[in-house]
Symmetry: C2
Subunit: 339 residues, 2 copies
């Protein structure tokens, strides 16, 4: 009898990845990337220059991926899902450009924000241009229902951003109010991106609603994990530095929970650093310590898991397929990336 | 025999007014105003507050008027022209909000700019919200052709604004380059606003093209007269102070002409004041004097007259009607308001 040697990692549980989804959408995504480059063109050179800076900076393209996969899962075999996916990515890019101006951010995806290089003015206007191009592409599909869904999302996203302005720097924001903000500013586009996949495939209302719910709940989970990672993540994995939200004085769920669970002295700390913006070098470390003390990061991840569960259940009406499995695993991956 | 007394003004030529057009569109415009108020609503209070500030500040509503009148002239009897006209005004309002941020303007329509009261952030985001609402209304009409025209206009307008950023503060800008800028940033929306009137009335391509051309040329004339008035107009008539363009260092046609026609010393003056932004109290007066010397204002108005003529000729294919007469008189009024 020989000696059994346990290989390192041999007992590791299978970890969810996004690889299956990425591989499945790859051919379609290549067409989206082509369309992105083509539609960001303009005889006004500043436009492709600035748009390219952001587009080439390695975003995850998760929103257009949702549109492509949803359409394919619904059996769609045409070309309009590529147009819609490109439009969705342009809407997202436009939002990022405007967000950076609104948040006065210096960095985006690990690179200097466009507004730092080309100024706020160009960022506002190129965002407007991309939004116009997005609508042109939607019109080309001839799908009024997709146009209805995505134009509604555009209004809701902006509404959510204004709402965030109003609640910003208010440490006593409730969890409900915060969920309302991210429901609008993040989940609305996830939800529309998935829903139009069913629309373009001419699937029944129930499947459209299922994908709408899938996208919305995945979007909320995704945002909550982003919030957690901003305090706990490793910089290299995120393409952005941790602590950004703290420095930009954003009220996110880890803060909401820590503030509510904290004592008077701790609340003063949150007020000083986030409401008054009076921060010193050690404050981020102390913020993390308070979150640890109150389990705020762990509970934020748990809340994300809850929305991930709803997203998965929404998909139950679809028959099994490699597309469905890949989308479900993407939900797991999205939540698991926080561990 | 009595003595003939000449009444004061008795020999005055009939002056073109916009009154006929205003009176004709009044019932429809009341519905547009209602829709504007309704669609600028949101549970996020800042949105109607900020949007209302600009919407109630007495804009001329000339763009939605074009849509309403064009549709009516084409015999349209439905309700979708009101939706399109409201969408057009929202697109315009969104552009103004973003413009003020881009230009760092302090005033708009004789009131404090929204960005001064609520900040750049809210102005960017409420602009985005209004743009989203505009597209929602277009979708409600179910007219894909109108959506195509207006989404194209949205992209072209933004493109024109970016182009203006690139040429801004370049006193050697050519007249052609300047016309390209205003063709995009002003005329594109005038043209789309008029064209969709024919589209919604299901009129043939030739009539659609005629209104497109009418709107575009009227838009150029309108902008050129605005440029002239900014140096020559009376403050009270405009709802904005004269000299704004000079203070904001905008290169407009009166400047383009004065710079080209000026001597070396004069060109240094334009470079110092507009490119370098080094202005003293008497500079605006001296700028006016140079424009007077080179006939730059008079020639800007003459150029406007040229585009006004093209606009009028574009309308020739339509049969006579009170709507057509009112639109033609509006062109005359637009040019004549500079005298």
């Amino acid at each position: 009898m020989g000696v059994v040697i346990a290989f390192e990692g041999g007992e590791e549980k299978h970890r969810a990845t996004i690889d299956a989804l990425t591989a499945l959408v790859e051919p379609d995504m290549a067409r989206v990337n082509e369309a992105i480059l083509q539609r960001a063109q303009s005889h006004v050179e500043l436009i492709p220059e600035l748009a390219g800076h952001l587009i080439n900076s390695g975003g995850k393209r998760i929103r257009p991926m949702l549109t492509l996969a949803a359409a394919r899962m619904c059996g769609y075999a045409g070309a309009d899902h590529v147009r819609l996916a490109t439009a969705v990515e342009f809407m997202h890019t436009a939002t990022l450009l405007h967000d950076d101006v609104v948040d006065e951010s210096d960095m985006r995806r690990g690179k200097q924000a466009a507004r730092i290089i080309w100024g706020n003015q160009a960022s506002v206007l190129v965002g407007d241009y991309l939004l116009g191009q997005a609508f042109k592409m939607m019109v080309e599909t001839g799908s009024l229902e997709s146009l209805r869904i995505l134009s509604h999302a555009a209004a809701v996203i902006a509404e959510g951003e204004v709402l965030q302005l109003s609640v910003s720097q208010d440490t006593s924001t409730t969890e409900d109010a915060y969920l309302q903000v991210i429901g609008a500013k993040t989940a609305a586009l996830f939800s529309a991106a998935a829903e139009v996949g069913a629309v373009i495939a001419a699937r029944p209302k129930a499947e459209q609603a299922a994908l709408e719910s899938f996208g919305r709940n995945l979007g909320i989970a995704f945002q909550l994990i982003d919030d957690a990672l901003d305090y706990s993540g490793k910089q290299a994995l995120m393409g952005k530095s941790t602590g950004d939200d703290f420095r930009e004085r954003k009220i996110t769920l880890p803060v909401v929970l820590s503030f509510r669970r904290g004592n008077k002295e701790e609340r003063s700390f949150w007020k000083r650093t986030l409401e008054e913006g009076d921060q010193t070098t050690d404050d981020l470390l102390y913020a993390r310590k308070l979150m640890e003390r109150h389990g705020a990061i762990a509970d934020t991840i748990e809340r994300a898991g809850h929305y991930g569960d709803i997203a998965r259940d929404a998909m139950a009406i679809f028959p099994e397929s490699e597309w469905k499995s890949a989308l479900l695993e993407a939900v797991d991956f999205c939540v698991a990336r926080a561990y």
